[in-house]
C-alpha cells in the first residue's frame, strides 16, 4: 500500500532522470505554489497536466530541465488530472521506513514527519547517480481513454446478472468525496444478493467495494488493508494510474477483462 497514486508516471519520470525506480518524488495536488532551489538540480514533472514555469519561462512535461541554484519553479495550476509529480535527479532524500520511502498520512510515517508538505519546508535531495539522457519513456505521454478494465472480485458472485449488467452499463462519476484513501463513485447504487456479512478480509489498491445499498468505493493507495464490504471487481494494475488521475466530476465506465 501507500506510494504514488499515479505510479506509471512516477516510474517514467524516475527513468527519465536516471533515478532508481523507487526514488521518492513530490506528489502535488490541488493548488499552485513555488519551489525554490537552493542548489543546482535536474528536474522533470509529469502526471497531471499542469502549467509550470521556471523563472517565469513556461515548461513542458516529461522534459528534463537543469535548474540552477536560486531558481524558482512555479506551479501555476493543474489543468487536468489530480496529481502533479515533480521528480528530481537523485530523488528526495527521505528515510526508508518499513522498506518504503512513501508517506502514509494516517500513520504519520515517512517523508516530512508523516505529514503533507507545507510552505516553508526544506526538502533535501539525494545525489544524482547518473547523467540524464536515457531512453525517454512515453508511457504517460498519451493516456488511454475508454472504459477502465477490471477483473472480477472475490465477492463477484454476490451480484446477479442484473447487478453485473448495471455495473458494466453504468456511467460513474468520481465523487468529490474521494482522496488517497478511496474514491467514491456516484451514478449508480448497486445492490447485492445473498448473505453479505463476511469477516473482514485483505483488500488491495483498486478493489471496488460496494457497501450496503451504497455507491461503490475504490480503495486507493492509503486505504485500509482489510475490509468487510463485498468487492465486485478490481481495477487492472495497468489502469490504476489513469484511474487515480480522474478528478471529481470526471466520468468513467468499467469493462470486464478475462
Amino acid at each position: 500500500m501507500s506510494g504514488l497514486a499515479d505510479r506509471d508516471s512516477g516510474l517514467a519520470l524516475n527513468a527519465l532522470l536516471g533515478n532508481d525506480p523507487n526514488a521518492a518524488m513530490i506528489e502535488w495536488a490541488v493548488a499552485g505554489g513555488v519551489l525554490r532551489f537552493e542548489r543546482d538540480a535536474s528536474v522533470a514533472f509529469g502526471g497531471a497536466d499542469a502549467i509550470c514555469a521556471l523563472n517565469r519561462a513556461p515548461l513542458q512535461a516529461r522534459v528534463v530541465y537543469h535548474v540552477p541554484w536560486g531558481s524558482e519553479l512555479q506551479i501555476e495550476r493543474i489543468v487536468r488530472g489530480r496529481f502533479l509529480l515533480i521528480a528530481i535527479a537523485g530523488g528526495i532524500d527521505v528515510p526508508i521506513i518499513l522498506g518504503s520511502r512513501s508517506t502514509l498520512l494516517s500513520a504519520r510515517i515517512g517523508g516530512a514527519e508523516g505529514r503533507r508538505l507545507r510552505t516553508g519546508d526544506s526538502i533535501a535531495t539525494g545525489i544524482a547517480v547518473s547523467r540524464v539522457g536515457g531512453d525517454v519513456p512515453l508511457a504517460t505521454a498519451a493516456r488511454n481513454s475508454g472504459p477502465v478494465h477490471v477483473t472480477s472480485g472475490p465477492q463477484a458472485d454476490l451480484f446477479d446478472d442484473l447487478g453485473w449488467s448495471e455495473f458494466l452499463g453504468a456511467e460513474f462519476i468520481v465523487s468529490i468525496a474521494s482522496d488517497r484513501v478511496g474514491y467514491r463513485l456516484d451514478g449508480l447504487t448497486l445492490s447485492h444478493t445473498g448473505d453479505t456479512a463476511f469477516p473482514s478480509e485483505p483488500t488491495c489498491i483498486g478493489a471496488i467495494q460496494v457497501p450496503n445499498g451504497g455507491s461503490p468505493i475504490v480503495i486507493m493507495n492509503d486505504g485500509p488493508t482489510v475490509g468487510g464490504y463485498p468487492k465486485i471487481a478490481v481495477i487492472c494494475k495497468s489502469e490504476m494510474s489513469r484511474f487515480a488521475q480522474l478528478a471529481p466530476g470526471e466520468k468513467l465506465r468499467f469493462e470486464l477483462t478475462r
Binding site: 494516517s106 500513520a107 477483473t151 472480485g153 472475490p154 473482514s200 478480509e201 488491495c204 485500509p224 482489510v226
Partner: protein
C-alpha cells in the same frame, strides 16, 4: 473436519485464500500457521503475505510470477493442517482510563451500568485475531456477549489516537487519529505503533491482551 481452502484472484497482483466463512480462534490459528508457512518459503516475487480472520492474501509482482505458479508452490502449505508455528505467547497489558464519550451510550444500549460495562470489558482476556485497517490496529476478541452493540450508524470523522473501542464481538485500540465507527469507551497513553520499535506494533496477531483499568 477441515474444508479445503478456496483460492480467489484479488486483482492482478494478489490472491486470496479462504479457509472458512465464519470467525473462530481455531480457523485463525490455522490461518496464521499457513501464513507463516508461506512466508517461510521466501518465494521470490511475493511481496507480502497478510493473514486476516479466515483468509490470507498473498501479494506478488505479476510481471515476474503468475498466479497459477504461486498457487502450485503454496498448495502443500495451504492444504495441510499442520500448525507450522506455535502462536505468539506474548501477553500485552494495556492501562485504560475508562472515560470514552460513548460509555453512557453503550451502557444504555446494553442495559448495563457504566460500572458494569467497565468491569465486563476489563475482566476478560482477549486474543488478537488479526491486524489491519491502519498500522498497529489489532482486532481483539471475544467481547463479553452482553457488551455486543452494532457499529455507530454514522462513523466519527476523527477518533483520537489511543481510543479504546468496541463493536460487534470485538474490541480494539485506535493507534492513530483516524475516522472510525466503533464505540469509544476509554483511552490509553500507550503507543500502539512506533517505527522506532522492533516490531513496531505493540499487539500482533496471536497475542494475548488484557485491559487494566487505571485512574491516571
Amino acid at each position: 473436519m477441515q474444508h479445503t481452502p478456496s483460492i480467489a484472484r484479488l486483482g492482478d497482483d494478489a490472491l486470496l485464500i479462504r479457509f472458512a466463512n465464519t470467525i473462530s480462534w481455531e480457523v485463525g490459528t490455522r490461518v496464521r500457521a499457513a501464513a507463516a508457512g508461506i512466508r517461510a518459503m521466501e518465494i521470490e516475487s511475493v511481496t507480502d503475505v497478510v493473514p486476516a480472520y479466515t483468509t490470507i492474501a498473498v501479494y506478488f509482482d505479476s510481471a515476474r510470477i503468475t498466479l497459477d505458479s504461486i498457487v502450485d508452490t503454496i498448495a502443500s502449505v495451504v492444504n495441510t493442517n499442520a500448525s507450522v508455528v506455535a502462536d505468539s505467547s506474548a501477553i500485552v497489558e494495556i492501562p485504560v482510563r475508562y472515560d470514552g464519550p460513548d460509555l453512557d451510550d453503550v451502557a444504555e444500549r446494553t442495559g448495563l451500568t457504566v460500572r458494569d460495562v467497565i468491569a465486563r470489558h476489563s475482566s476478560r482476556t482477549y486474543r488478537a485475531y488479526m491486524s489491519g485497517f491502519v498500522p498497529g490496529f489489532a482486532y481483539l476478541g471475544d467481547l463479553d456477549p452482553l457488551l455486543i452493540v452494532a457499529r455507530r450508524s454514522v462513523p466519527r470523522l476523527r477518533v483520537p489516537a489511543g481510543s479504546v473501542a468496541i463493536a460487534a464481538a470485538q474490541t480494539a485500540v485506535y493507534p492513530f487519529e483516524t475516522p472510525g465507527g466503533w464505540h469509544l469507551i476509554g483511552s490509553t497513553t500507550l503507543r500502539m505503533f512506533d517505527v522506532a520499535r522492533n516490531p513496531p506494533a505493540l499487539i500482533r496477531a496471536g497475542d494475548t491482551v488484557r485491559f487494566i483499568p487505571t485512574d491516571a
